[in-house]
């Protein structure tokens, strides 16, 4: 070489407020920005869910201020069915995209992954900064649908055609609101693609000396697998949203069938297929739910051994589980479409891989249980959330076995049984993963400790509360309670209303409990006790640096990794653990 090569990923230390805190190239700042976005989104999503639950418990009751917020949707403060469906759509869209894809993957992954592999930053810091601001833009576009004349869309987060593709003729929310939804999600896809590009390249190229793929912490493996899944899945959602926007605005007929009549209007579509939207959407949609849960797998697999003081049972098995879940997730999308009129033989072709995918998931659960078995557990908030994750993931996973079978799904599809299933695995399990990660990495991210007492109260009240909210929904579903209904006036549904009232009260209780977390989080950021470098005696690379880390993560040091991340409970070591960068020789691998 004739000139010293500028280190490709290195950028100068930032100066100025804007460069340091707003348009920052530092993955740590970007990770915190994503986390803050997820916090705002989860609060908004919770608020929407409370409104929904209040309505379901007391269907004709006026809800104070609702008429002021939604004049056309709630005349006299009583929620109309249209408004209910809009709230449901926005609740799900915000939660799935801006909380469950953003927090476990974009927020924690951005913050922790470069440090865990021993790099100074992500591979493409400018793309990283872009990915956050693009995601933020997508959020703003989505929220703007609340303020347009027609209101937010009501076609569900799944946005099925033709309801989503015909435009304003379909009624409130389906005009500008639905178009804004499609534009927002398309923008979101671009942000996620940029993020996945960074995660994959950083994991493959920027590992420090000694950090082989086998020595990567499982959280990094999980983010890596998630980013591969996300890359391929969001790359399919983007053209799907483009086709939807064209059907809505350009008069094309991708999804609009011939002779469709909506609200007494014959629409000019010809030849399109609503099923085409379902296939495109669910080809993305199923990998999406694994994008939501796999970082949780990684977080649990990293956090649990630190508090069990025992190596994870089956480190390499866990890697295999995550990779195989990622691979299989692309083969099962049709299980969302069992009642769409497909050939029963195709249903079998989807049902079998769906049942097969339960195998690596079950193995993962058994690995975690095997880690905890015989361990002298340190019960901190982080470890409690890990144990809670295992519990709710088992519960949610078990209902999946039933839904995986077309014969049963024919009955259970679009009932509260499905609602229970996905809330257990996504709303609770993935959220518990986020909470575990928050409590574990908060000291590193903010340099202070969160309050353990508040954390434990938060955990126990939430854990009991969410079981009260979502467990009865299995019963509701079996009893035939259809989902996405704003009112239960049919004879067979009326007797279920008292159970809905119970669920509502439990949901409001759980909602109130989350304020313990919000308070703990914000108070500790400013007033928490200062955190040491390694408060949990953990082995991975982020604990080899200060809390919070300096600008270039390691203060100019270039760590050499000598061990895998699993050396907890080691005999003959100076402590009961050996850090990855420690040159200490141990017999263990």
């Amino acid at each position: 070489m004739s000139t010293p090569d500028p280190t490709i990923h290195q950028h100068a230390a930032p100066t100025g407020f804007i460069r340091k805190h707003v348009f920052s190239l530092d993955h740590k700042v970007i990770g915190r920005q994503y986390y803050d976005l997820a916090l705002v989104a989860v609060f908004l999503g919770l608020l929407l869910s409370w409104l929904m639950r209040i309505h379901l418990g007391w269907m004709n009751a006026p809800i104070p201020l609702l008429g002021k917020l939604f004049p056309s949707g709630a005349p006299g403060n009583v929620m109309t069915p249209d408004l209910y469906l809009s709230l449901m759509t926005m609740h799900a869209t915000i939660m799935v995209f801006f909380v469950l894809t953003t927090a476990p993957f974009a927020a924690f992954g951005n913050y922790v992954l470069p440090i865990q592999v021993g790099a100074e930053d992500m591979a493409f810091p400018h793309f990283n900064m872009m990915s956050f601001w693009v995601t933020f833009l997508a959020f703003l576009v989505l929220i703007s649908s609340f303020f347009v004349g027609d209101g937010p869309p009501l076609a569900g987060w799944t946005s099925y055609a033709p309801l989503s593709s015909v435009g304003a003729v379909a009624g409130p929310g389906q005009g500008t609101g639905q178009t804004l939804w499609a534009v927002s999600i398309a923008i979101f896809c671009i942000g996620q693609l940029l993020g996945s590009l960074n995660f994959i390249t950083t994991t493959l190229d920027l590992r420090t000396k000694g950090m082989s793929l086998a020595r990567l912490p499982l959280s990094t493996w999980a983010w890596f697998v998630t980013s591969v899944i996300g890359l391929l899945a969001f790359a399919v959602l983007l053209p799907a949203c483009v086709l939807l926007i064209l059907d809505r605005t350009a008069g094309t007929s991708f999804f609009g069938p011939t002779g469709l009549v909506v609200n007494d209007t014959v629409l000019p579509y010809s030849g399109g297929s609503p099923l085409l939207w379902q296939h495109l959407f669910w080809f993305f949609g199923h990998p999406e739910v694994y994008i939501a849960i796999l970082p949780g797998f990684g977080i649990i697999s990293t956090v649990l051994p630190a508090f069990a003081r025992k190596r994870l049972l089956g480190h390499q098995v866990m890697i295999g589980c995550m990779v195989s879940i990622g691979f299989l997730s692309y083969m099962v999308w049709g299980h969302h479409m069992f009642v769409s009129g497909m050939n029963p033989f195709s249903a079998l072709m989807f049902s079998v891989p769906t049942l097969i995918i339960t195998i690596p998931a079950t193995i993962a659960v058994l690995m975690w249980l095997g880690t905890v078995y015989g361990a002298r557990m340190r019960y901190t908030t982080a470890s409690l959330f890990c144990l809670g994750f295992i519990s709710v993931f088992i519960t949610g996973g078990l209902s999946g076995f039933f839904l995986a079978q077309p014969s049963l799904d024919t009955y259970l599809h679009a009932t509260y049984f499905v609602v229970a299933h996905f809330h257990f695995v996504m709303a609770i399990a993935a959220m518990f993963g986020i909470f575990a990660g928050t409590h574990f990495w908060f000291p590193k991210m903010y340099g202070r400790m969160m309050n353990e007492t508040l954390g434990k109260w938060h955990f126990w009240l939430t854990f009991l509360g969410v079981y009260c909210v979502f467990m009865p929904m299995h019963y509701l579903g079996l009893a035939g309670n259809v989902r996405r209904y704003a009112a239960f006036t049919d004879n067979y549904l009326v007797p279920l209303i008292p159970l809905h009232k119970f669920i509502t009260m439990a949901a409001l209780f759980v909602g109130a409990t989350q304020f313990i977390f919000f308070f703990n989080f914000f108070w500790s950021r400013f007033r928490g006790p200062k955190a040491p470098d390694n408060p949990w005696d953990a082995t991975t690379l982020e604990w080899s640096t200060t809390s919070p880390p300096p600008f270039d993560n390691f203060g100019g040091r270039h760590l050499v990794v000598h061990h895998g991340p699993e050396l907890y409970g080691v005999e003959g070591a100076a402590n009961d653990y050996v850090m990855q960068v420690s040159p200490e020789q141990v017999d263990a691998r």
């Binding site: 004739s2 090569d5 790359a235 064209l246 094309t252 011939t258 030849g271 297929s273 080809f283």
Partner: protein, 231 residues
């Protein structure tokens, strides 16, 4: 691993005290040694471009499968035949890939000559830049040709919403064209980088731009076959 400016570097297996490896002169060398275990000069972008290729491929795979499904489900598919100029455009794009490879060839020759024969090195660098500019020009010509193909269709009365076949035609060619414009920008950046210095990083930059460009070419070849067969 060794670098030309720090021949004494030995990459040790034990932890060094905080600070530089023995013999390295600056932080950049230091980081490169520890952070790039593969080779000293592999750019992250050389991995990243393949990731981008995967994502863009999935995007077009989704569109093409939508095309195939849509053609099969209704009888309203109008077969209009691709405009003739697109055969010329395809040829132009294929030639551009050849000129890109000529540019890369000249560039690696320039690097070889740099040490022993600076004059020849300069000439090779000039040739590389010329071939690169030709690639950019051919790419731009392709885009112009695509616009002419669109005008051809408009003259026949085929617009975006006229028929599902024309919808996919416009969509696929527009999507490809937009990505190609990005590729032209990448080639322009590579041209700017190699204007003076045939360093090893510049090889990486050219390689990245090249992979993307060849992918655009290959993608177009595939799309063209689909369009000829289905339109």
């Amino acid at each position: 691993m060794s670098t030309t400016s720090t021949p004494q570097v030995r990459v040790p297996n034990e932890i060094k005290p905080a600070g530089l490896h023995a013999g390295t002169t600056n932080l950049r060398e230091e980081i490169r040694i520890s952070a790039f275990p593969r080779t000293e000069t592999t750019l992250p972008a050389e991995t990243g471009v393949w990731v981008a290729v995967a994502a863009i491929s999935m995007c077009f795979a989704a569109l093409i499968s939508a095309l195939i499904v849509r053609e099969g489900i209704a009888a309203d598919w109008v077969h209009f035949g691709v405009p003739r100029i697109m055969y010329v455009n395809t040829f132009i794009l294929l030639v551009s890939s050849i000129s890109l490879e000529a540019a890369r060839n000249s560039f690696s020759k320039a690097q070889e000559f740099e040490r022993q024969n600076p004059a020849a090195g300069e000439k090779a660098l000039d040739r590389a830049r010329l071939w690169l500019l030709s690639t950019v020009a051919l790419g731009a010509l392709f885009v112009v040709g695509q616009v002419m193909a669109w005008r051809d269709l408009v003259a026949k009365g085929l617009f975006l919403a006229s028929s599902p076949s024309s919808s996919f035609f416009y969509l696929l060619t527009a999507a490809h064209g937009l990505h190609l414009l990005g590729g032209i920008a990448g080639l322009g950046y590579a041209f700017w980088r190699i204007r003076r210095d045939p360093g090893s990083q510049e090889t990486g930059v050219l390689s990245v731009a090249g992979v993307y460009w060849h992918f655009m070419d290959g993608l177009w070849a595939f799309l063209f076959i689909i369009l000829v067969a289905r339109m």
